[in-house]
């Protein structure tokens, strides 16, 4: 009886923690920052896996959210991201 009660409490606790996202995979929070130089230009990637920015040659930037490029920026024009499809 007591064991059953403990198992039940543990299950409820796990359920609550799951809802709070504690068991979510942390891969989305992995830091992906790095630099990459190529014959085509110098690229800087900065941010976490679920949201990062790719910048080429210090002035062209692309915002990636949840695996999609959602916006771009040209620092020669301004500092605001322009969102695609808007």
């Amino acid at each position: 009886m007591i064991i059953l009660f403990i198992v039940l409490i543990a299950a409820v606790a796990c359920f609550v923690l799951y809802k709070k996202g504690v068991f979510n995979s942390t891969s989305e929070n992995i830091d992906v920052s790095q630099k990459f130089d190529s014959e085509y230009g110098n690229f800087v990637i900065s941010g976490k896996k679920n949201k990062f920015v790719i910048t080429k040659n210090d002035h062209l930037s692309f915002l990636v959210e949840d695996g999609q490029i959602v916006a771009c920026k040209d620092k020669r024009i301004g500092n605001e991201f322009k969102y695609y499809g808007r």
């Binding site: 990459f36 690229f43 990637i45 990062f52 062209l60 990636v64 695996g67 040209d74 322009k82």
Partner: protein, 310 residues
């Protein structure tokens, strides 16, 4: 003595009138005046035409310098970018625009008229010798024949003068038309090249970076290394997607490349100015200018960022 001189002058005048000598001298003077007038007007009109041609040639030289320098450089950049998205035709060889020829003063014609005037402008010695050998009656016949011939020559000279001046005025008008056409064409060329340099090339830079970012993004998300990454610019991939504007922009840029190549490898202005230009030609090039503006507006619709063209 004074009375005697007056009587002699009166008698001389009557004789000269009777023999036709007075009329001959008047005709010669008229021909000389008409010729001087003709020569002045021709010289003035030729200078005026050549002044217009000089302006036109100045513009053409500037255009050639611009084409050889700016046009060449920008086509190469644009061709290089577009080459990453598809096949581009070769630029072709540079073809210089020809300058217009200057109008020459018709010196040979002037010499011919001056020679004629010399022949008809008898000196007092010539008159005396002719009178001595031909007798008064013979001299009268000769002078009257000369007067008739001079009248014909005078009429012919006046007609020639009118026609020549009219031709020169037409040349002047044509040169001014050519100048307007050249200015309009040069405006279009500069507009196109400036637009390529300030707008198209920077936007192409962005589009190419987009495709590179796409590849990098996929690698990063799949935890792959960026070493030896190959970039592909498959423009069809983004057709009918949220990135459609990039697709349309690249497509429209090919048109500008083709136009720029034509400006470089074809003497468009020389071909335009061959023969006689008319008001119609000016209207046509004005229409082309409007078409160009429409094309630029079409491309502007697909720019992600509005860029300054000046």
């Amino acid at each position: 003595m004074g009375l005697f001189t007056d009587v002699l002058d009166w008698a001389s005048d009557k004789v000269q009138t009777m023999t036709g000598e007075k009329e001959r001298r008047e005709r010669v003077a008229e021909i000389k005046n008409t010729y001087e007038d003709f020569k002045d007007q021709v010289s003035s009109n030729v200078n005026s035409v050549n002044s217009s041609i000089e302006d036109l040639n100045g513009s053409i030289k500037e255009l050639n310098d611009f084409r050889a320098g700016n046009v060449s450089r920008n086509i190469e950049y644009l061709g290089e970018f577009l080459g990453h998205f598809g096949n581009v035709k070769l630029i072709g060889d540079y073809a210089e625009e020809e300058t217009a020829c200057y109008v020459a003063v018709p010196e040979h014609r002037f010499i011919s008229i001056e020679d004629y005037i010399q022949d008809i402008d008898w000196s007092k010695g010539d008159v005396f010798m002719n009178s001595f050998f031909l007798s008064p009656l013979g001299m009268k016949k000769k002078t009257q024949a000369q007067n008739l011939s001079m009248q014909e020559q005078l009429n012919s000279l006046k007609l020639e003068a009118e026609q020549t001046i009219l031709e020169l005025k037409n040349l002047k008008f044509a040169a001014e038309q050519d100048k307007k056409i050249a200015e309009l064409y040069i405006f279009c060329v500069e507009r196109i090249i400036c637009y390529i340099e300030k707008v198209i090339i920077p936007e192409m830079d962005l589009v190419e970076a987009f495709f590179q970012a796409l590849t990098i993004k996929n690698r990063v998300i799949s935890d792959n290394s960026l070493e030896n990454v190959e970039f592909k610019n498959n423009i069809d991939l983004i057709r009918d997607t949220q990135y459609q504007d990039h697709y349309q922009f690249v497509r429209n840029s090919f048109l500008f490349y083709v136009i720029a190549c034509k400006i470089y490898n074809t003497p468009v202005l020389t071909n335009l100015l061959k023969g006689t230009t008319s008001e119609n030609d000016l209207n046509e090039i004005n229409k082309e200018k409007d078409v160009l503006e429409t094309q630029i507006n079409n491309v502007n619709q697909f720019l992600i960022f509005k860029r300054e063209e000046a």
